[in-house]
């Protein structure tokens, strides 16, 4: 066995990861410009929205001036960028309180839902993906394939509706809206989250398991797998010790994609189960032209996505001895 790796042995991966972080920051900056521009292009503006249809143009112009909306876009962009970098995304125009406060109310909810779904869906996806891969072409694989394809194809609102019909209306097991009581017991907590997690999980399991299957099958065709079988390695050891370490890169990236969806894409689930998360907050911000809130939400989603991809890249680099040794 080699001893602890020296500092210089880590120089390669640190440089690679550093490069990725730099790229992520540049992407975030570009996204901020795009978000700012696009939100400026939306028809109507907050002043109009606040005053309603009956307001005279003079009233709107006065409010626009008061809100600072009549200054040049570049000035507003850099002010906003500096503020958001300092952690203050400004005041919500509609709710008239700091955006940071609104988001800090909602963010834990979204994180809880995403976290629970991850804990439920990822092991399940691994199980299905690996099982499907090792029985490739046989009946088990084909039925799993049909099931995951159907799950990918089913729209979320349909899955949610069916789940509510079955578990809430017919069986009366689970609540149809997600209200978590103050200081819940574990049972109450799980009961409240069961349906939204199930509905979100279906999509994640289906997509992720298909990508895991593909990644493992690509490895199973390589000569080292035959060699391992000829060493008498058991099927379980073959997958865990030989195949998975080589499939970590593609699987980590597939997970990053699937999980980032949980962050910003849960709008249907949040709406159906009346769950106060970030996605519905952002949609509300769009309909009420609450630009500071909208921009902050967009930046959070983007940052979360970039962070997940960055983690996936780092894991892939560390799992690959060639990259690890720079």
């Amino acid at each position: 066995m080699s001893g602890a790796p020296s500092v210089s042995a880590w120089r390669g991966p640190i440089r690679l990861v550093g490069k990725r972080i730099g790229l992520a920051l540049i992407t975030l900056l570009l996204v901020s410009a795009v978000v700012f521009t696009i939100s400026g292009l939306l028809p109507g503006d907050a002043a109009q929205e606040v005053l309603g249809q009956g307001a005279t143009p003079e009233q709107v112009a006065a409010l626009r001036h008061e809100m600072g909306l009549d200054r040049p876009a570049a000035v507003r962009y850099f002010e906003w960028l500096a503020a958001i970098a300092a952690g203050d995304p400004g005041n919500s125009i509609v709710a008239n309180k700091p955006v940071a406060d609104i988001i800090s109310e909602r963010l834990p909810n979204t994180l809880t839902l995403a976290g629970l779904t991850t804990v439920f869906a990822v092991p399940f996806a691994f199980l299905v993906g690996i099982w499907s891969a090792v029985t490739r072409g046989r009946a088990t694989d084909r039925s799993l394939n049909i099931m995951t394809l159907a799950m990918v194809a089913l729209p979320e609102f349909l899955v949610a509706t069916i789940a509510v019909m079955v578990f809430s209306v017919k069986l009366l097991w689970l609540p149809s809206i997600t209200i978590v009581p103050q200081d819940p017991t574990l049972g109450e907590f799980l009961r409240a989250y069961a349906l939204p997690v199930m509905v979100l999980g279906v999509g994640v399991i289906a997509q992720l398991s298909r990508m895991i299957r593909a990644a493992i099958i690509a490895e199973l065709d390589r000569p080292y797998v035959e060699m391992a079988r000829l060493k008498g390695v058991s099927q379980a050891r073959l997958i865990v010790r030989h195949v998975l370490p080589n499939a970590v890169g593609p699987i980590a990236n597939a997970m990053a994609l699937s999980l980032s969806y949980l962050f910003g894409g849960a709008i249907i689930v949040e709406t159906i189960f009346s769950y106060p998360g970030l996605a519905s907050l952002m949609v509300n911000a769009v309909t009420s032209r609450d630009m500071p809130l909208l921009q902050a939400c967009a930046m959070i989603f983007c940052a979360a996505y970039l962070l997940l991809v960055l983690i996936a890249d780092t894991v892939a680099i560390l799992a690959n001895p060639r990259l690890r040794q720079g």
Binding site: S2, P223, M227, L230, K231, G232, V233, S234, N320, R322
Partner: protein
């Protein structure tokens, strides 16, 4: 020695499902026995079933094939053993050394973990014992730094080292039977010698019983006691190795023996003073970004020059990493050289492909080693040839069809092949089509990059004969790149030897029959296995003289670190001169003609 054989195989059949669903026997009623501590060689062309038989000794069949017959190894009966029973034998009592260790090692695990894994999963040793035994085996296999080499990853090791590490993995459980499946086919000849010597030593020391799969009779002669000659899944001959070499009983064995030493039937008359057709001079080339002095980050060729006369055949030879394929890429315009020029028929060609005219492209054609990759499997042979005819000659319709038939006739294939897809053809047929694709352009010179290296000896000889015929009949010239000196000597008038991107020797083919030649040429020639059983014992790695620390100065002889006749104080201080020998070959060496003559 006990009376019962150690390995006993009776009536072995392996059946696959043919594309139409009917059962097809790829191994038919094969029986053999191996006494303890002997090595049996399975020899034959690809498709002879030799690897299939070897794998069935582990109860393993690729792609859903079915194994039947009686297989006994040591105490264990393999037929009907079931998955659990087989897994207990595999990697424990019966072990396997794969053809390409570079692919058969798991790229993301340290080598030592993989080497000791069989001992751990079969419980034959504790972790510490297994590691200790691995280090012993590494040392016995002449691996450098046996204590620490295991902690490397596969990509940090060379092909020859990985092949030996794989042998250590096969021996770690002290198995009853070790199966070597073409373990040196993917290696350079110079590396092959070292690996064969290490294998033979360790197999003898361990008293292991072995099965050695190979298509190369000369290699088998060094490793085996008995030989089983296979053709299309049936046994043609089984005998002691010496008997097979000296008095082959079967016609097919004689064909194999003849093909092992290619001698061409076609004689090409060589013009007395041929006009130069293609010449490259002072070529420097490499890969990676180019620095301010115009030198690439990874230089490959330095100052390479050669001339191909009209209708001539010039061979370029060297081991992997010598830059021989890069020469072809530079001539074809696929890689722009950083210095030097390529001249065709008196005209300097543009460095890169995109700046060359269609007519210039037509006159130089390239044929790659692997016809499987070079030919689009979705296209018919007629499409592939027709496209070239349309592109270079604007031919279509009946004229093109007629020309395709002519081309197929040239490469000795029936014209009906035009309608077939490439993946329906055999390896040799595909390589012929690959050649016809180049001929369709009516080129002046064809760059052949290892075109016979992936072929079996019998097929290789046929392709070489075809190349010689085409040259005689069409007057086409060849730049023939190969790692196999026997092939190059058979086909070419002139041979250039490359070592690490420098030309160390050039001369007429005849000058490579006997010294004097460059010490590296000498190593290449002496590393080619000969068809006698005592050859391997005669070639020893010659000791290299101790030299002081040599700076990586481009001017010094590149072969210096491996040279057995290096002169301290001369070779490590000044660049070698180019010496012209009496026989006409030019050698880049400090040693004089008389010193090199023995």
């Amino acid at each position: 020695m006990t009376m019962t054989p150690h390995v006993d195989v009776r009536g072995l059949c392996v059946t696959v499902r043919a594309p139409d669903g009917s059962p097809l026997r790829i191994v038919d009623n094969v029986s053999f026995a191996i006494p303890r501590s002997e090595v049996l060689a399975l020899i034959g062309e690809s498709g002879s079933g030799k690897t299939t038989i070897a794998l069935s000794l582990m109860g393993y069949a690729r792609g859903g094939a079915r194994i039947s017959g009686q297989i006994t190894v040591g105490e264990a009966t393999l037929d009907g053993a079931g998955d659990k029973g087989l897994a207990a034998q595999r990697g424990h009592r019966i072990t396997y050394v794969a053809q390409s260790a570079a692919a058969a090692f798991n790229p993301s695990r340290r080598v030592i973990e993989q080497v000791i894994e069989p001992a751990l999963i079969h419980g034959t040793a504790t972790d510490a014992q297994a590691r200790a035994r691995a280090v012993e085996l590494f040392a016995a296999l002449a691996l450098p730094n046996p204590q620490t080499i295991g902690s490397r990853y596969p990509h940090e090791l060379s092909g020859g080292q990985l092949q030996r590490l794989m042998a250590a993995m096969a021996l770690i459980t002290r198995p009853d039977l070790v199966i070597f499946d073409e373990p040196t086919t993917a290696l350079d000849v110079t590396t092959q010698v070292e690996v064969l010597q290490a294998f033979r030593k360790v197999v003898r020391e361990q008293g292991a019983t072995g099965v050695y799969v190979s298509h190369d009779l000369a290699v088998v002669a060094q490793m085996a006691d008995q030989v089983l000659v296979l053709n299309r899944g049936t046994v043609r001959e089984q005998n002691a190795v010496r008997a097979v070499l000296e008095a082959p009983a079967d016609d097919y064995t004689r064909t194999l023996l003849a093909a092992a030493q290619p001698v061409l039937k076609t004689v090409v008359p060589v013009a007395v003073k041929p006009a130069p057709l293609l010449s490259i001079s002072g070529i420097h080339a490499g890969y990676g970004s180019i620095d301010r002095q115009g030198r690439p980050a990874h230089p490959v060729l330095s100052d390479v020059s050669l001339t191909v006369p009209r209708g001539g055949a010039v061979g370029v030879i060297g081991e992997s990493g010598s830059g021989k394929s890069t020469v072809a890429r530079v001539v074809a315009g696929l890689l722009a050289p950083t210095a030097g020029e390529v001249v065709l028929d008196g005209q300097t060609l543009a460095a890169s492909l995109s700046e060359r005219g269609r007519e210039e492209l037509r006159r130089i054609q390239i044929v790659f080693q692997n016809a499987d990759v070079a030919l689009n499997p979705a296209h018919s042979v007629g499409d592939i040839l027709g496209r070239v005819l349309r592109f270079y000659h604007g031919m279509s319709g009946r004229a093109a069809t007629a020309r395709v038939a002519e081309l197929l006739d040239l490469i000795r294939l029936p014209s009906a092949v035009a309608g077939r897809r490439c993946d329906e053809l055999s390896g040799g047929q595909k390589q012929r089509v690959n050649l016809a694709r180049a001929l369709a352009a009516n080129p002046d010179v064809i760059l052949c990059d290892e075109v016979t290296s992936a072929l079996d000896t019998v097929v290789r000889e046929a392709i070489l004969d075809l190349l010689a015929e085409l040259r005689r009949d069409l007057g086409v010239a060849y730049l023939f790149i190969s790692h196999d000196i026997a092939t190059v000597k058979a086909l070419c008038d002139e041979i250039v030897v490359l070592y690490k991107g420098t030309r160390v020797e050039s001369g007429q083919s005849g000058t490579y029959n006997a010294p004097p030649y460059h010490p590296y040429t000498d190593l290449l020639i002496s590393s080619v296995p000969e068809l006698r059983t005592d050859w391997l014992s005669g070639v020893g790695p010659k000791a290299t003289p101790q030299l002081g620390a040599v700076t990586d100065d481009a001017g010094l002889c590149r072969f210096l670190p491996r040279c057995p006749v290096a002169i301290a104080g001369r070779c490590d201080t000044s660049p070698p001169p180019l010496r012209l020998m009496d026989a006409g070959n030019a050698v880049l060496c400090h040693r004089t003609e008389s010193e090199l003559a023995h």
